[in-house]
Symmetry: C2
Subunit: 244 residues, 2 copies
Amino acid sequence: MVSKKDIKLISSLKQRKFRDINKSFVVEGKKSISEFLDSKFNLIKLFSIDCSFYTDISNQIQVNSDELKKISFFKNPDDHLAIFEIPKQKPINESILIVALESIRDPGNLGTIIRTCEWFGVNDIICSNDSVDCFNPKVVQSAMGSLSRINITYVDLNSYLKSTELKSIGMTLNGQSLYEKKLSFEKGILIFGNEANGISDRLFSMLNHNLTIPRSLNSDFPESLNLSVSVGVVLGEIKRKTYL
Amino acid sequence: MVSKKDIKLISSLKQRKFRDINKSFVVEGKKSISEFLDSKFNLIKLFSIDCSFYTDISNQIQVNSDELKKISFFKNPDDHLAIFEIPKQKPINESILIVALESIRDPGNLGTIIRTCEWFGVNDIICSNDSVDCFNPKVVQSAMGSLSRINITYVDLNSYLKSTELKSIGMTLNGQSLYEKKLSFEKGILIFGNEANGISDRLFSMLNHNLTIPRSLNSDFPESLNLSVSVGVVLGEIKRKTYL
Protein backbone atom coordinates (compact mmCIF):
# COMPACT_ATOMS: atom_id res chain seq x y z
CA MET A 1 0.00 0.00 0.00
CA VAL A 2 1.11 3.55 -0.71
CA SER A 3 1.05 5.88 2.30
CA LYS A 4 -0.15 9.47 2.12
CA LYS A 5 3.39 10.52 2.95
CA ASP A 6 4.72 8.61 -0.07
CA ILE A 7 2.10 10.14 -2.38
CA LYS A 8 3.06 13.61 -1.18
CA LEU A 9 6.78 12.93 -1.53
CA ILE A 10 6.52 11.49 -5.04
CA SER A 11 4.31 14.31 -6.23
CA SER A 12 6.78 16.87 -4.83
CA LEU A 13 9.61 15.24 -6.81
CA LYS A 14 8.17 16.68 -10.01
CA GLN A 15 9.77 19.93 -8.88
CA ARG A 16 13.51 20.54 -8.88
CA LYS A 17 13.35 22.32 -5.51
CA PHE A 18 12.03 19.21 -3.77
CA ARG A 19 14.36 16.88 -5.69
CA ASP A 20 17.24 19.00 -4.35
CA ILE A 21 15.88 19.01 -0.78
CA ASN A 22 15.18 15.26 -0.77
CA LYS A 23 18.18 14.36 -2.92
CA SER A 24 16.00 11.95 -4.82
CA PHE A 25 14.18 11.48 -8.12
CA VAL A 26 11.63 9.19 -9.74
CA VAL A 27 12.20 6.52 -12.41
CA GLU A 28 9.30 4.66 -14.00
CA GLY A 29 9.14 1.47 -16.00
CA LYS A 30 10.75 -1.91 -15.63
CA LYS A 31 13.49 -1.39 -18.19
CA SER A 32 14.73 1.95 -16.93
CA ILE A 33 14.55 0.92 -13.26
CA SER A 34 16.61 -2.18 -14.02
CA GLU A 35 19.28 -0.06 -15.71
CA PHE A 36 19.51 2.32 -12.72
CA LEU A 37 19.81 -0.70 -10.40
CA ASP A 38 22.53 -2.18 -12.64
CA SER A 39 24.36 1.17 -12.54
CA LYS A 40 24.46 0.98 -8.71
CA PHE A 41 22.16 3.92 -8.03
CA ASN A 42 20.83 3.77 -4.46
CA LEU A 43 17.22 2.67 -4.47
CA ILE A 44 15.16 4.42 -1.80
CA LYS A 45 11.81 2.77 -2.48
CA LEU A 46 10.23 0.65 -5.20
CA PHE A 47 6.48 0.45 -5.83
CA SER A 48 5.50 -2.63 -7.84
CA ILE A 49 2.32 -4.20 -9.09
CA ASP A 50 4.21 -7.45 -9.54
CA CYS A 51 6.70 -7.91 -6.68
CA SER A 52 8.07 -11.12 -8.15
CA PHE A 53 9.87 -9.30 -10.97
CA TYR A 54 12.53 -7.71 -8.76
CA THR A 55 13.83 -10.11 -6.16
CA ASP A 56 16.29 -9.38 -3.32
CA ILE A 57 14.93 -5.88 -2.84
CA SER A 58 13.96 -5.09 0.74
CA ASN A 59 12.37 -1.70 0.23
CA GLN A 60 9.76 -2.88 -2.28
CA ILE A 61 6.10 -2.07 -1.73
CA GLN A 62 3.24 -3.92 -3.38
CA VAL A 63 0.66 -1.63 -4.99
CA ASN A 64 -2.42 -2.14 -7.10
CA SER A 65 -2.95 -0.44 -10.44
CA ASP A 66 -5.16 2.32 -9.00
CA GLU A 67 -2.47 3.22 -6.48
CA LEU A 68 0.21 3.21 -9.18
CA LYS A 69 -1.94 5.47 -11.32
CA LYS A 70 -2.18 7.88 -8.40
CA ILE A 71 1.58 8.21 -7.96
CA SER A 72 2.72 7.87 -11.58
CA PHE A 73 3.71 10.89 -13.70
CA PHE A 74 2.54 9.02 -16.81
CA LYS A 75 -0.93 8.66 -18.28
CA ASN A 76 -0.34 4.96 -18.79
CA PRO A 77 2.01 3.87 -16.03
CA ASP A 78 4.22 0.83 -16.41
CA ASP A 79 4.08 -1.75 -13.57
CA HIS A 80 6.82 -0.17 -11.44
CA LEU A 81 7.83 3.20 -10.00
CA ALA A 82 11.08 3.77 -8.12
CA ILE A 83 12.56 6.55 -6.02
CA PHE A 84 16.35 6.71 -6.35
CA GLU A 85 18.92 8.83 -4.55
CA ILE A 86 20.56 11.58 -6.62
CA PRO A 87 24.20 10.47 -6.66
CA LYS A 88 27.17 12.58 -5.61
CA GLN A 89 28.89 14.50 -8.37
CA LYS A 90 31.66 12.55 -10.09
CA PRO A 91 34.75 14.26 -11.56
CA ILE A 92 34.67 15.17 -15.26
CA ASN A 93 36.87 12.95 -17.43
CA GLU A 94 38.73 15.40 -19.66
CA SER A 95 40.68 12.74 -21.53
CA ILE A 96 37.91 12.12 -24.05
CA LEU A 97 35.40 14.33 -25.89
CA ILE A 98 32.91 16.19 -23.67
CA VAL A 99 29.57 17.68 -24.75
CA ALA A 100 28.59 21.00 -23.14
CA LEU A 101 25.10 22.52 -23.27
CA GLU A 102 24.41 26.18 -22.59
CA SER A 103 20.99 27.12 -21.16
CA ILE A 104 19.20 24.09 -22.57
CA ARG A 105 15.50 24.40 -21.71
CA ASP A 106 13.59 21.49 -23.21
CA PRO A 107 13.63 18.35 -21.05
CA GLY A 108 12.84 16.13 -24.04
CA ASN A 109 15.87 17.53 -25.87
CA LEU A 110 18.17 16.95 -22.89
CA GLY A 111 16.94 13.38 -22.50
CA THR A 112 17.42 12.65 -26.18
CA ILE A 113 20.91 14.21 -26.09
CA ILE A 114 21.90 12.01 -23.12
CA ARG A 115 20.80 8.92 -25.09
CA THR A 116 22.58 10.14 -28.24
CA CYS A 117 25.82 10.87 -26.35
CA GLU A 118 25.87 7.36 -24.95
CA TRP A 119 25.27 5.88 -28.41
CA PHE A 120 28.34 7.69 -29.75
CA GLY A 121 30.57 7.01 -26.74
CA VAL A 122 30.51 10.41 -25.00
CA ASN A 123 30.56 9.86 -21.22
CA ASP A 124 30.43 13.41 -19.86
CA ILE A 125 27.86 16.14 -20.43
CA ILE A 126 28.38 19.56 -18.88
CA CYS A 127 25.34 21.82 -18.50
CA SER A 128 25.34 25.50 -17.59
CA ASN A 129 23.68 26.08 -14.23
CA ASP A 130 20.56 27.60 -15.78
CA SER A 131 19.85 24.46 -17.86
CA VAL A 132 16.93 22.12 -17.23
CA ASP A 133 17.60 19.62 -14.43
CA CYS A 134 18.63 16.18 -15.64
CA PHE A 135 16.45 14.49 -12.98
CA ASN A 136 13.32 16.22 -14.33
CA PRO A 137 10.79 13.41 -15.00
CA LYS A 138 10.63 14.22 -18.73
CA VAL A 139 14.42 14.04 -19.01
CA VAL A 140 14.45 10.70 -17.17
CA GLN A 141 11.78 9.39 -19.54
CA SER A 142 13.37 10.48 -22.81
CA ALA A 143 16.94 9.59 -21.77
CA MET A 144 15.70 6.08 -20.98
CA GLY A 145 18.36 4.17 -19.05
CA SER A 146 21.22 6.26 -20.49
CA LEU A 147 20.88 8.75 -17.63
CA SER A 148 22.16 6.05 -15.28
CA ARG A 149 25.44 5.75 -17.18
CA ILE A 150 26.29 9.27 -18.40
CA ASN A 151 28.00 11.70 -16.01
CA ILE A 152 26.17 15.04 -16.04
CA THR A 153 27.73 18.03 -14.29
CA TYR A 154 26.18 21.46 -13.74
CA VAL A 155 28.73 24.29 -13.78
CA ASP A 156 29.25 27.98 -14.46
CA LEU A 157 30.16 27.33 -18.09
CA ASN A 158 32.11 30.58 -18.56
CA SER A 159 34.29 29.88 -15.51
CA TYR A 160 34.78 26.27 -16.56
CA LEU A 161 35.96 27.27 -20.03
CA LYS A 162 38.36 29.79 -18.51
CA SER A 163 39.82 27.23 -16.12
CA THR A 164 40.22 24.28 -18.50
CA GLU A 165 43.02 23.71 -20.97
CA LEU A 166 40.75 21.82 -23.33
CA LYS A 167 39.94 23.25 -26.75
CA SER A 168 36.37 24.40 -27.19
CA ILE A 169 34.39 23.89 -30.38
CA GLY A 170 31.10 25.76 -30.59
CA MET A 171 28.28 24.82 -32.97
CA THR A 172 26.69 27.92 -34.49
CA LEU A 173 24.79 28.86 -37.64
CA ASN A 174 27.63 30.70 -39.37
CA GLY A 175 30.89 28.91 -38.60
CA GLN A 176 33.15 26.82 -40.81
CA SER A 177 31.61 23.71 -42.33
CA LEU A 178 31.77 20.74 -39.97
CA TYR A 179 32.76 18.66 -43.01
CA GLU A 180 35.63 20.86 -44.19
CA LYS A 181 37.31 21.40 -40.87
CA LYS A 182 39.91 18.79 -40.10
CA LEU A 183 39.98 18.93 -36.33
CA SER A 184 41.17 16.33 -33.93
CA PHE A 185 38.11 15.52 -31.89
CA GLU A 186 39.61 12.92 -29.60
CA LYS A 187 39.33 15.34 -26.76
CA GLY A 188 37.92 18.81 -26.25
CA ILE A 189 34.59 20.39 -25.45
CA LEU A 190 31.85 20.43 -28.05
CA ILE A 191 29.43 23.24 -27.15
CA PHE A 192 25.78 23.60 -28.18
CA GLY A 193 23.74 26.68 -27.31
CA ASN A 194 20.17 27.28 -26.23
CA GLU A 195 17.32 26.04 -28.49
CA ALA A 196 16.10 29.52 -29.41
CA ASN A 197 19.17 31.74 -29.07
CA GLY A 198 22.20 29.55 -29.72
CA ILE A 199 25.50 30.18 -27.94
CA SER A 200 25.62 33.43 -25.92
CA ASP A 201 27.97 36.25 -26.99
CA ARG A 202 30.04 35.84 -23.85
CA LEU A 203 30.64 32.13 -24.42
CA PHE A 204 31.12 32.69 -28.15
CA SER A 205 34.07 35.01 -27.48
CA MET A 206 35.84 32.19 -25.64
CA LEU A 207 35.56 29.54 -28.39
CA ASN A 208 38.62 28.09 -30.11
CA HIS A 209 36.58 26.94 -33.12
CA ASN A 210 33.20 27.80 -34.54
CA LEU A 211 31.56 25.14 -36.72
CA THR A 212 28.29 24.75 -38.62
CA ILE A 213 26.31 21.81 -39.99
CA PRO A 214 25.92 22.86 -43.64
CA ARG A 215 22.39 23.20 -44.93
CA SER A 216 21.14 22.12 -48.35
CA LEU A 217 22.38 24.57 -50.95
CA ASN A 218 18.92 25.18 -52.42
CA SER A 219 17.20 26.70 -49.45
CA ASP A 220 17.32 29.49 -46.87
CA PHE A 221 15.04 27.36 -44.73
CA PRO A 222 14.73 26.03 -42.12
CA GLU A 223 16.60 28.54 -39.98
CA SER A 224 17.88 25.91 -37.61
CA LEU A 225 17.95 22.21 -36.83
CA ASN A 226 16.40 20.74 -33.69
CA LEU A 227 19.04 20.77 -30.93
CA SER A 228 19.10 17.03 -30.27
CA VAL A 229 19.27 16.31 -34.02
CA SER A 230 22.26 18.69 -34.27
CA VAL A 231 24.06 16.83 -31.49
CA GLY A 232 23.42 13.55 -33.33
CA VAL A 233 24.70 14.88 -36.68
CA VAL A 234 27.89 16.31 -35.16
CA LEU A 235 28.68 13.26 -33.01
CA GLY A 236 27.93 11.01 -36.01
CA GLU A 237 30.45 12.97 -38.09
CA ILE A 238 33.09 12.93 -35.33
CA LYS A 239 32.63 9.27 -34.51
CA ARG A 240 32.51 8.22 -38.15
CA LYS A 241 36.28 8.51 -38.26
CA THR A 242 36.69 5.89 -35.56
CA TYR A 243 34.73 3.35 -37.61
CA LEU A 244 36.51 3.78 -40.92
CA MET B 1 -14.68 38.61 -32.61
CA VAL B 2 -14.63 34.83 -32.71
CA SER B 3 -17.99 33.17 -33.38
CA LYS B 4 -19.14 30.04 -31.56
CA LYS B 5 -19.03 28.28 -34.89
CA ASP B 6 -15.36 29.18 -35.31
CA ILE B 7 -14.52 28.01 -31.79
CA LYS B 8 -16.23 24.69 -32.48
CA LEU B 9 -14.53 24.28 -35.85
CA ILE B 10 -11.05 25.08 -34.57
CA SER B 11 -11.42 22.77 -31.59
CA SER B 12 -12.56 19.95 -33.90
CA LEU B 13 -9.42 20.39 -36.03
CA LYS B 14 -7.35 18.82 -33.26
CA GLN B 15 -8.74 15.54 -34.55
CA ARG B 16 -7.71 13.96 -37.85
CA LYS B 17 -11.27 12.94 -38.63
CA PHE B 18 -12.46 16.56 -38.66
CA ARG B 19 -9.36 17.79 -40.48
CA ASP B 20 -10.20 15.27 -43.21
CA ILE B 21 -13.88 16.25 -43.31
CA ASN B 22 -13.13 20.00 -43.36
CA LYS B 23 -9.97 19.67 -45.45
CA SER B 24 -8.32 22.20 -43.19
CA PHE B 25 -5.78 22.51 -40.37
CA VAL B 26 -4.53 25.06 -37.86
CA VAL B 27 -1.22 26.95 -37.88
CA GLU B 28 -0.21 29.19 -34.98
CA GLY B 29 2.41 31.90 -34.65
CA LYS B 30 3.48 34.76 -36.88
CA LYS B 31 6.56 33.07 -38.31
CA SER B 32 4.92 29.80 -39.31
CA ILE B 33 1.79 31.48 -40.71
CA SER B 34 3.98 33.74 -42.86
CA GLU B 35 5.81 30.71 -44.26
CA PHE B 36 2.55 28.94 -45.16
CA LEU B 37 1.32 32.14 -46.85
CA ASP B 38 4.63 32.41 -48.75
CA SER B 39 4.24 28.78 -49.85
CA LYS B 40 0.84 29.64 -51.40
CA PHE B 41 -1.29 27.57 -49.04
CA ASN B 42 -4.93 28.71 -49.21
CA LEU B 43 -5.80 30.71 -46.11
CA ILE B 44 -9.34 30.06 -44.92
CA LYS B 45 -9.36 32.41 -41.93
CA LEU B 46 -6.84 34.34 -39.86
CA PHE B 47 -7.44 35.41 -36.25
CA SER B 48 -5.11 38.22 -35.16
CA ILE B 49 -4.59 40.34 -32.08
CA ASP B 50 -2.71 42.83 -34.24
CA CYS B 51 -4.39 43.11 -37.65
CA SER B 52 -1.78 45.54 -38.96
CA PHE B 53 0.89 42.81 -39.18
CA TYR B 54 -0.67 41.00 -42.14
CA THR B 55 -1.98 43.39 -44.74
CA ASP B 56 -3.98 42.58 -47.89
CA ILE B 57 -5.77 39.70 -46.21
CA SER B 58 -9.54 39.85 -46.53
CA ASN B 59 -10.48 36.97 -44.27
CA GLN B 60 -8.72 38.33 -41.17
CA ILE B 61 -10.61 38.62 -37.89
CA GLN B 62 -9.54 40.85 -35.03
CA VAL B 63 -9.52 39.07 -31.66
CA ASN B 64 -8.45 39.99 -28.15
CA SER B 65 -6.04 37.90 -26.10
CA ASP B 66 -8.78 36.13 -24.15
CA GLU B 67 -10.45 35.04 -27.37
CA LEU B 68 -7.13 33.84 -28.79
CA LYS B 69 -6.47 31.87 -25.63
CA LYS B 70 -9.84 30.20 -26.06
CA ILE B 71 -9.12 28.98 -29.59
CA SER B 72 -5.37 28.32 -29.31
CA PHE B 73 -3.92 24.82 -28.86
CA PHE B 74 -0.97 26.37 -26.97
CA LYS B 75 -0.67 27.35 -23.32
CA ASN B 76 0.95 30.61 -24.35
CA PRO B 77 -0.50 31.51 -27.74
CA ASP B 78 1.36 33.74 -30.15
CA ASP B 79 -0.58 36.74 -31.57
CA HIS B 80 -2.05 34.89 -34.57
CA LEU B 81 -3.92 31.69 -35.42
CA ALA B 82 -4.74 30.63 -38.97
CA ILE B 83 -6.90 27.98 -40.59
CA PHE B 84 -5.42 26.76 -43.88
CA GLU B 85 -6.79 24.40 -46.51
CA ILE B 86 -5.11 21.00 -46.72
CA PRO B 87 -3.59 21.08 -50.22
CA LYS B 88 -4.14 18.49 -52.92
CA GLN B 89 -1.58 15.70 -53.12
CA LYS B 90 1.39 16.53 -55.34
CA PRO B 91 3.26 13.80 -57.27
CA ILE B 92 6.35 12.30 -55.64
CA ASN B 93 9.62 13.43 -57.23
CA GLU B 94 11.59 10.21 -57.64
CA SER B 95 14.64 11.87 -59.20
CA ILE B 96 16.20 12.74 -55.83
CA LEU B 97 16.48 10.97 -52.46
CA ILE B 98 13.17 10.26 -50.69
CA VAL B 99 12.68 9.54 -46.99
CA ALA B 100 10.02 6.95 -46.09
CA LEU B 101 8.61 6.41 -42.59
CA GLU B 102 6.79 3.24 -41.56
CA SER B 103 4.16 3.51 -38.82
CA ILE B 104 5.65 6.60 -37.21
CA ARG B 105 3.60 7.45 -34.12
CA ASP B 106 5.09 10.44 -32.34
CA PRO B 107 3.98 13.81 -33.78
CA GLY B 108 7.04 15.57 -32.33
CA ASN B 109 9.30 13.11 -34.14
CA LEU B 110 7.50 13.59 -37.46
CA GLY B 111 7.69 17.38 -37.13
CA THR B 112 11.39 17.27 -36.32
CA ILE B 113 12.01 14.88 -39.23
CA ILE B 114 10.22 17.24 -41.65
CA ARG B 115 12.46 20.09 -40.47
CA THR B 116 15.58 17.89 -40.69
CA CYS B 117 14.71 16.68 -44.20
CA GLU B 118 14.39 20.25 -45.41
CA TRP B 119 17.75 21.18 -43.83
CA PHE B 120 19.46 18.42 -45.80
CA GLY B 121 17.62 19.02 -49.07
CA VAL B 122 15.14 16.14 -49.06
CA ASN B 123 11.86 17.32 -50.63
CA ASP B 124 9.63 14.25 -50.39
CA ILE B 125 8.60 12.24 -47.34
CA ILE B 126 6.45 9.15 -47.77
CA CYS B 127 4.53 7.87 -44.74
CA SER B 128 2.75 4.54 -44.41
CA ASN B 129 -1.00 5.04 -44.08
CA ASP B 130 -1.01 4.15 -40.37
CA SER B 131 1.48 6.93 -39.52
CA VAL B 132 0.58 10.04 -37.52
CA ASP B 133 -1.09 12.74 -39.64
CA CYS B 134 1.26 15.52 -40.74
CA PHE B 135 -1.42 18.16 -40.06
CA ASN B 136 -1.66 17.11 -36.41
CA PRO B 137 -1.12 20.33 -34.35
CA LYS B 138 2.00 18.94 -32.67
CA VAL B 139 3.54 18.05 -36.04
CA VAL B 140 2.74 21.53 -37.35
CA GLN B 141 4.39 23.05 -34.29
CA SER B 142 7.58 21.01 -34.30
CA ALA B 143 8.03 21.10 -38.09
CA MET B 144 7.84 24.89 -37.90
CA GLY B 145 7.46 26.34 -41.40
CA SER B 146 9.12 23.34 -43.07
CA LEU B 147 5.75 21.59 -43.37
CA SER B 148 4.75 24.23 -45.92
CA ARG B 149 7.62 23.30 -48.25
CA ILE B 150 8.06 19.53 -47.92
CA ASN B 151 5.81 17.20 -49.92
CA ILE B 152 4.36 14.51 -47.65
CA THR B 153 2.48 11.59 -49.17
CA TYR B 154 0.58 8.84 -47.36
CA VAL B 155 0.70 5.49 -49.14
CA ASP B 156 0.52 1.74 -48.70
CA LEU B 157 4.28 1.45 -48.27
CA ASN B 158 4.45 -2.22 -49.29
CA SER B 159 2.59 -1.57 -52.54
CA TYR B 160 4.65 1.52 -53.23
CA LEU B 161 7.91 -0.38 -52.83
CA LYS B 162 6.64 -3.12 -55.12
CA SER B 163 5.62 -0.65 -57.81
CA THR B 164 8.69 1.61 -57.84
CA GLU B 165 11.98 0.95 -59.57
CA LEU B 166 13.90 2.92 -56.95
CA LYS B 167 16.37 1.15 -54.67
CA SER B 168 15.30 0.93 -51.04
CA ILE B 169 17.71 1.35 -48.13
CA GLY B 170 16.34 0.42 -44.71
CA MET B 171 17.84 1.62 -41.43
CA THR B 172 17.89 -1.18 -38.85
CA LEU B 173 19.90 -2.12 -35.78
CA ASN B 174 21.89 -4.92 -37.38
CA GLY B 175 22.73 -3.96 -40.94
CA GLN B 176 26.01 -2.99 -42.55
CA SER B 177 27.72 0.10 -41.14
CA LEU B 178 26.42 3.30 -42.71
CA TYR B 179 30.03 4.47 -42.84
CA GLU B 180 31.44 1.42 -44.61
CA LYS B 181 28.82 1.06 -47.28
CA LYS B 182 29.65 3.00 -50.41
CA LEU B 183 26.22 3.50 -51.89
CA SER B 184 25.11 6.07 -54.35
CA PHE B 185 22.48 8.04 -52.47
CA GLU B 186 21.57 10.52 -55.16
CA LYS B 187 18.26 8.81 -55.54
CA GLY B 188 16.44 6.00 -53.81
CA ILE B 189 14.21 5.53 -50.79
CA LEU B 190 15.68 5.73 -47.33
CA ILE B 191 13.33 3.88 -44.95
CA PHE B 192 13.00 4.31 -41.18
CA GLY B 193 10.74 2.08 -39.08
CA ASN B 194 8.44 2.66 -36.15
CA GLU B 195 9.91 4.17 -32.93
CA ALA B 196 9.43 1.03 -30.86
CA ASN B 197 9.53 -1.81 -33.36
CA GLY B 198 11.67 -0.65 -36.28
CA ILE B 199 10.95 -1.81 -39.82
CA SER B 200 8.31 -4.55 -40.11
CA ASP B 201 9.29 -8.03 -41.34
CA ARG B 202 7.22 -7.62 -44.46
CA LEU B 203 8.90 -4.37 -45.46
CA PHE B 204 12.30 -5.71 -44.41
CA SER B 205 12.02 -8.56 -46.90
CA MET B 206 11.67 -6.02 -49.72
CA LEU B 207 14.78 -3.94 -48.93
CA ASN B 208 17.72 -3.71 -51.33
CA HIS B 209 20.09 -2.61 -48.56
CA ASN B 210 20.07 -2.78 -44.78
CA LEU B 211 22.22 -0.23 -42.95
CA THR B 212 22.98 0.66 -39.32
CA ILE B 213 24.38 3.71 -37.54
CA PRO B 214 27.28 2.16 -35.63
CA ARG B 215 27.22 2.54 -31.87
CA SER B 216 30.21 3.27 -29.65
CA LEU B 217 32.32 0.15 -29.37
CA ASN B 218 32.37 0.23 -25.55
CA SER B 219 28.72 -0.22 -24.85
CA ASP B 220 25.71 -2.43 -25.40
CA PHE B 221 23.56 0.58 -24.53
CA PRO B 222 21.46 2.39 -25.45
CA GLU B 223 19.45 -0.08 -27.49
CA SER B 224 18.41 2.50 -30.03
CA LEU B 225 18.70 6.13 -31.07
CA ASN B 226 15.74 8.49 -31.09
CA LEU B 227 14.09 8.27 -34.53
CA SER B 228 14.49 11.92 -35.51
CA VAL B 229 18.14 11.88 -34.38
CA SER B 230 18.70 8.79 -36.57
CA VAL B 231 17.25 10.58 -39.59
CA GLY B 232 19.59 13.52 -38.91
CA VAL B 233 22.68 11.32 -38.57
CA VAL B 234 21.95 9.38 -41.79
CA LEU B 235 21.07 12.46 -43.87
CA GLY B 236 24.14 14.25 -42.48
CA GLU B 237 26.34 11.35 -43.62
CA ILE B 238 24.70 11.20 -47.06
CA LYS B 239 24.75 14.93 -47.62
CA ARG B 240 28.32 15.31 -46.33
CA LYS B 241 29.56 14.03 -49.66
CA THR B 242 27.91 16.89 -51.53
CA TYR B 243 29.80 19.47 -49.46
CA LEU B 244 33.27 17.99 -49.74
